[in-house]
């Protein structure tokens, strides 16, 4: 039996492992694919304190090595189900059943994709899912943002101060996002709007060079852009916990800043929890909080 089982080896899960090991708890980290989580897609992190420039891959590798050196056991198996038996919790993978006193669910979320050809291979070469991460690479360039929610609107605002021009493409005729933000967008001279339109094709050589936009009437426009920021929502990876853990309508685990879920002894950390700011620094912060709460929970068991 482990003291703490952490599901997900991204920044939140691995930071939780570091804190739990430093509290002398036995720790198992289960990871479905490879360590690092979505931060590995960021070529250059510039907003993490102290590390003025670090690649997402280097960041992930350092956190992974730190957690391992402290004695966390990291196993590459996907958690398909969890069970709550009071003082014991079980995590089921395709091959094994692991028992722990406390669980930390740190599975993160994935970007909803447009589903276009070449979308995956152009990530980091003109296609981005994170304006605050990658916007600085588009200083003085032409970009487009696709989406109609708050993230898309905020991305467009953020990019308007960096890029030469920003085209905001939305499939409806009005935005779901906050009106205040919409008003601020309309004041920016370099933001252009394309309503009732979808991005239907990515044109690229080595990098993205243009996008094809199709409007409701079927009219096709080719728009030359250096960058396309896709902000059409995120999908939290909580499906396998839904039977036990209370999720919100969008599928995020309902939890406050203390990272408690609806079940005692089961905590959550990082992007798969309900929160306002989903950033690297808030993911690692969650890891610290969730591990500390889990340690407290275990202490109260005995």
């Amino acid at each position: 039996m482990f003291d703490i089982i952490i599901i997900g080896a991204g920044p939140a899960g691995l930071t939780a492992a570091i804190y739990a090991r430093r509290a002398a708890k036995s720790v198992l980290v289960l990871e479905a694919t490879a360590y690092g989580g979505q931060i590995i897609n960021t070529p250059d992190i510039e907003n993490y304190p102290v590390a003025a420039h670090i690649s997402g891959f280097d960041f992930a590798t350092k956190v992974y090595e730190q957690a391992k050196a402290l004695g966390a056991e990291i196993v590459f198996e996907k958690a398909v189900e969890i069970e709550d038996h009071g003082t014991e919790k079980a995590v089921i993978t395709a091959k094994n059943r692991y028992i722990g006193k406390a669980l930390i669910l740190a599975t993160g979320s994935e970007n909803r994709k447009l589903g276009l050809e070449k979308e995956d291979s152009l990530v980091g070469r003109g296609v981005s899912y994170c304006a605050t991460c990658d916007g600085a690479f588009y200083r003085g360039k032409k970009v487009a943002v696709v989406g109609g929610g708050n993230t898309a609107l905020e991305d467009a605002l953020y990019l308007a101060d960096l890029a030469e021009s920003v085209t905001l493409i939305h499939r409806r005729d009005s935005f779901r996002g906050e009106e205040g933000t919409v008003a601020r967008l309309k004041e920016k001279p370099n933001i252009h709007f394309m309503y009732n339109s979808n991005v239907t094709k990515l044109l690229a050589e080595k990098r993205l060079t243009a996008i094809e936009v199709t409007d409701r009437n079927g009219a096709v426009t080719e728009l030359a852009v250096d960058g396309l920021f896709i902000a059409v929502g995120r999908i939290p990876e909580n499906q396998n916990f839904a039977a036990l853990i209370r999720l919100d309508e969008a599928g995020y685990i309902q939890a406050g800043e203390n990272c408690h879920t609806n079940l005692p002894g089961i905590f959550t950390a990082g992007d798969n929890r309900t929160k306002e700011v989903r950033q690297l620094v808030t993911a690692t912060a969650d890891g610290a909080v969730a591990a500390t709460e889990a340690v407290k929970y275990i202490a109260a068991l005995s």
Partner: protein, 104 residues
Amino acid sequence: MAIIPVTYEHFEEEVLKSDLPVLADFNADWCGPCRMLAPILEQIAEERSDCKVVSINVDDESELAEQFEVSSIPCVVLFKGGKEAARSVGLRPKEALEGLLGEN
């Protein structure tokens, strides 16, 4: 068993003449996904006694990379009875790599 680093000189003996199926991981130090794949392959090497895992650095062993037409890494090639039986390109989950062994 640990992962065995293999060079051109030992390739025939370690891989082609191996009694066990061999997962050959073509990688390079500068390749991020290769480094992320390494602990997954280490775990397979430790857990399974019915296969061997070897590591081939494509910068040092360009002849091998060329011979097996490895043009994109990470690339894991399954060798059975001295021949390539399957390959997996890119960063794949552990199950996918074990699937190579299971299906071939």
